[in-house]
């Protein structure tokens, strides 16, 4: 019987196509705007989170914090033994020590080292060439290869070379001369290309610092203080478990220190901050569209009243030939829910298409966003949107439907 009621409702709607479509428009706009905003919001959120994650947020950065603020600058360094102890923990998969400053996991490290060249003191940024890494663009000399082992050779960056080639010294004259880096002598074997003349893709950060063979770089930084350790949790271990265990291990390994070991979660908190501000934006937009949907719902109610009034005789006839009030109620309720549900589905499709288009437009037209914008339609969001729109039909359809069910058959047919 329900199927029959639905069927006859649909047949009835057929005769009022335009009105049905107009009623749907309110719902479509409401749902489409929610979907557009949330799909865009989710997209931006995911892209920015991915970006943050790629810069090392998944690792746990342990640092030492002295109790007294004035001890802050005091030299503290993690030891190689700390790393060995931590690695014995089952919860720790790997550890990367941070010397000096840090360009991010996988990119390698850079330190600032003191230099002396022909009696002039200076400072350069130095990195090590990871085995098998692609060579930088050169302007002179040769690149470092695996064969260089731990030999003391260096390829200078263009800027450093420029600063050394003064007082009549040509750049090519630098080749095969010695430079003191961090107290050890290195032979200059090559000079990198001018990054300003390279394409953006080629001019990455390694182009801006001097490169040593990996082993030689390791020797150079062996005496450098380790400011922080980045732990990667082993599979199946909670972040907090790793933090707790590592803190215990480090505290035991460094007895009598007037300070504590803490997690440097500046990236994590940045992530949380970003996430919450994006969430706030989404909530604000969603609240606005909820109001829009309420307006749409009132439109549905209005149309349902019109529909009930207009079909009073039809209701009367149906009641006369034996339709129970419940059947009439279901018929109008189904009609309202059908209209709003279809409106919701169309709204989801329309809204997602709009979000896709907007993301594409922003990414291509606004400089510097570099694909930050995207549109993500989650199953959850789709379900919520469809359920909400059907719910609107139910809520705003129920009063007119009850009115229809209460119709007095005689008055309705002989109106």
């Amino acid at each position: 019987m329900i199927r029959n009621i639905m069927l006859s409702t649909l047949l009835g709607l057929r005769t009022h196509k335009l009105r049905v479509v107009l009623t749907m428009v309110g719902i479509i706009i409401g749902i489409a705007s929610v979907i557009t905003i949330t799909a865009l919001g989710e997209g931006v959120k995911k892209n920015s989170m991915d970006l943050l994650d790629s810069t090392g947020v998944s690792g746990i950065t342990m640092v030492y914090l002295p109790d007294k603020i004035e001890d802050m600058g005091l030299d503290f360094s993690f030891k190689k033994s700390d790393m060995k102890r931590l690695l014995r923990l089952e919860s720790v998969a790997s550890i990367i020590p941070n010397y000096g400053y840090f360009m991010g996991i996988g990119d390698g490290e850079v330190i600032d080292a003191a230099t002396t060249y022909l009696g002039t003191d200076g400072s350069i940024s130095v990195t090590g060439r990871a085995a098998g890494a692609a060579a930088d663009e050169l302007s002179l000399g040769r690149a470092i290869t695996d064969a260089d082992g731990e030999s003391h050779v260096v390829v200078l960056d263009y800027m450093t070379a420029q600063s050394l080639a003064v007082d009549g010294i040509q750049m090519r004259d630098l080749l095969d001369t010695g430079i003191s880096i961090g107290g050890a002598m290195f032979r200059i074997i090559g000079i990198k290309a001018d990054p300003t003349e390279l394409s953006a893709a080629d001019a990455d950060w390694t182009q801006h610092c001097a490169t040593l063979p990996f082993a030689a770089f390791q020797q150079l930084i062996a005496d450098e203080p380790i400011y922080s350790l980045v732990l990667t949790p082993a599979a199946g271990y909670e972040r907090q478990t790793v933090i707790d265990q590592a803190t215990d291990v480090l505290t035991q390994a460094h007895p009598g220190l007037a300070g504590t070991f803490e997690v440097d979660d500046s990236i994590a908190s940045m992530r949380a901050e970003m996430e919450s501000s994006l969430n706030i934006a989404i909530v604000v937009f969603v609240s606005i569209t909820v109001i829009a949907l309420l307006v749409g719902g009132i439109g549905v109610m209005n149309i349902m009243y019109v529909s009930v009034t207009e079909r009073r005789r039809e209701i009367g006839i149906k009641r006369a030939i034996g339709a129970k009030p419940r059947v009439i109620l279901l018929q109008f309720l189904f009609e309202a829910v059908f209209i709003t549900f279809i409106g919701g589905v169309l709204g989801v499709l329309f809204g997602f298409a709009l979000a896709k288009a907007a993301a594409f437009a922003i990414n291509t037209m606004v400089p510097d966003v570099e694909g930050m914008f995207g549109a993500i339609l989650s199953v959850k969001m789709t379900a919520i949107a469809c359920a909400t729109s059907a719910g609107i039909g139910l809520i705003f359809g129920i009063v007119p439907a009850i009115g229809a069910a209460r119709t007095d058959p005689i008055k309705a047919i002989y109106q």
Partner: protein, 308 residues
């Protein structure tokens, strides 16, 4: 369960075996006589409508008994209360006072849903203005009572609608929109609709009122045929000429019954009841559930008989 059993179960009597269908409607008192149970019986039936601060009494204490197989014509001037009476008998409206029983059940105690079920399964309505639903096609209009009874599959509904459309001579028009049909055709659709649930009683309020004489006669022929096959018909009309179709003519004036006499077809009626002809669904029209008993030939033979 057969339809006959349904009806008896509905009316609160113990179910009767299928083999006893022959005495359906004649299930009498414990003594086992075959005195038919009155289909409709009322005493002191009163109906008032609020008119401003006063009350307008439209029906003033009517007594009437309608037996199975009768073709009752209710006549009277405009405003005498015919439609009001018909609406009460058909359970569309409630009486203000008086006793009223339908098919052996007291109506006053019935809840609205029960009244709906009775209207759906035991009463067929035919109105002056046809009252078809324009957004549905002919076949869907005819199927509607089956939709609301909820007992028949949609394939069965279509088949059954077709059967009754054939019966009223509109088998070809099943897929048409009702608005494309003439008045006479629409009224025949309405009659088909009133028949699909195989009711005990057909209520017709001026069924020919909106039609020309010739078309009206055709409608009357259909009603007479149905009556001869056992349907009880109660019809309201203004047209004195129509009384030849009736077995009984009830006259009303200002809410009172002023006359109750046999009609032009009374002899046919008495012949039928005298031989205890089964009067529920066993002859000709049959039911959709017991489709086996239906034979279009029965109707066409009637048709030739009538035309001859």
């Amino acid at each position: 369960m057969t339809r006959a059993e349904h009806m008896r179960a509905d009316s609160g009597r113990p179910p009767v075996a299928v083999g006893e269908v022959g005495v359906a409607g004649a299930v009498g008192d414990a003594a086992g006589t075959t005195q038919p149970v009155p289909l409709v019986e009322f005493h002191g039936l009163t109906k008032e409508f609020p008119a401003g601060t006063e009350k307008l009494q439209v029906l003033k204490g009517l007594d009437l008994t309608i037996r199975r197989g009768e073709f009752v014509m209710i006549m009277g001037k405009s405003g005498s209360g015919k439609t009001t009476l018909l609406n009460i008998i058909g359970m569309l409206d409630r009486a203000s006072a008086g006793q009223f029983s339908f098919d052996g059940t007291a109506v006053e105690q019935m809840k609205e849903t029960e009244r709906c079920e009775v209207r759906n399964s035991k009463v067929g309505f035919v109105f002056q203005q046809f009252f078809l639903i324009d957004s549905l096609n002919v076949s869907q209009n005819v199927s509607l009572p089956m939709v609301f009874s909820g007992r028949v599959s949609s394939a069965e509904q279509r088949r059954c609608a077709q059967k009754y459309l054939d019966l009223v001579g509109l088998g070809e028009k099943a897929r048409r929109r009702v608005t494309e049909l003439s008045g006479g055709q629409q009224q025949r659709v309405a009659i088909a609709r009133s028949l699909v649930n195989d009711p005990l009683l057909i209520m017709a309020d001026e069924p020919t009122g909106a039609l020309d004489t010739e078309t009206g006669e055709a409608i009357m022929e259909i009603l007479r045929r149905l009556n001869r096959q056992g349907k009880t018909v109660v019809m309201v009309t203004h047209d004195e000429d129509m009384t030849r179709y009736a077995t009984r003519v009830v006259r009303m004036k200002d809410g009172v019954i002023t006359g109750d006499a046999p009609g032009g077809s009374a002899s046919v009626m008495s012949a039928a009841t005298a031989t205890d002809t089964p009067v529920t669904g066993a002859v000709g029209v049959g039911t959709c559930v017991d489709a086996g008993t239906y034979s279009p030939a029965v109707l066409s033979s009637h048709e030739t008989e009538v035309c001859a």
